[in-house]
Subunit: 61 residues, 6 copies
């Protein structure tokens, strides 16, 4: 029963999300022996204004 | 002090969210003895393109 | 595909968790039409030292 | 390696988010000795329809 | 700046976690062009008593 | 109604957590006009074996 939440700054294309989901689900099956149907993955695309590193929003100049 | 985060694939109507929040808050009061005013609930509605099960995005054909 | 994460301050008995999971899964089936087998629920029991309200840890005097 | 997720009901201006990120990153450096570059902060602005307290959605009358 | 949180029912060995982290970080670099050093991954191992599917705790008989 | 979740690699002392909670609650009151009593903060201390950066667990040699 893995649940994986992936937060990224910016956006991903549908194709990128499809490929990432496929690979991570495969990784969890091969390495952790989790049946593919058990794995839920969610993507959250975060605007630069809503993500800070080192105290600065990512859309800062 | 319960904090409950509910992620659903797709959307819910306002009426569904109101009823779900009411019932879960009641459940936590009856079963866990948490005063209703202590319970925070957030809903996150996730597009099919952002939720994968078994390695496939939910909006896949 | 609901995923529900429940954080509570302090602990719950196994019986409380079983009953809460049963009721919330039922709520999501009745109100949101989510098949029971789709619903994942996790519980996180948080020590008073790790939860603050109004700026004070819950285990403060 | 702190990761801080801040959920607020309603919205914040970019200026509020920039200042909050700056202060929290500073707090974690001063108090917890975490280098500023290690700290990731994300903001999630939650509509009143998606946040309930005491069993009522925040946009209830 | 990806942040990935992996919740699994039960436990993983250190070797499993090391390999999963390596593969997911590689996936995000190849597919999403995220530099490896940007990716934070956390693992949360959840006891069967704290994870329910279909309304039943996973350690139920 | 802010809810803040702070994940740190390693541990914090109770004194560090108390001071961090106090400062963040104050920040949210001053900058975002959130009454102190509305702010919930949780701390999650993550073992090095459960946190990876750049594909390596933090307790790697």
């Amino acid at each position: 029963m893995p649940y994986v939440d992936i937060k990224v700054a910016g956006t991903l294309t549908r194709e990128q999300k499809a490929k990432i989901a496929e690979e991570i689900t495969d990784t969890l099956e091969r390495i952790a022996k989790k049946p593919k149907s058990y794995t839920y993955i969610t993507f959250t695309e975060v605007a630069g204004e809503n993500w800070a590193v080192a105290g600065d929003l990512l859309d800062s100049d």
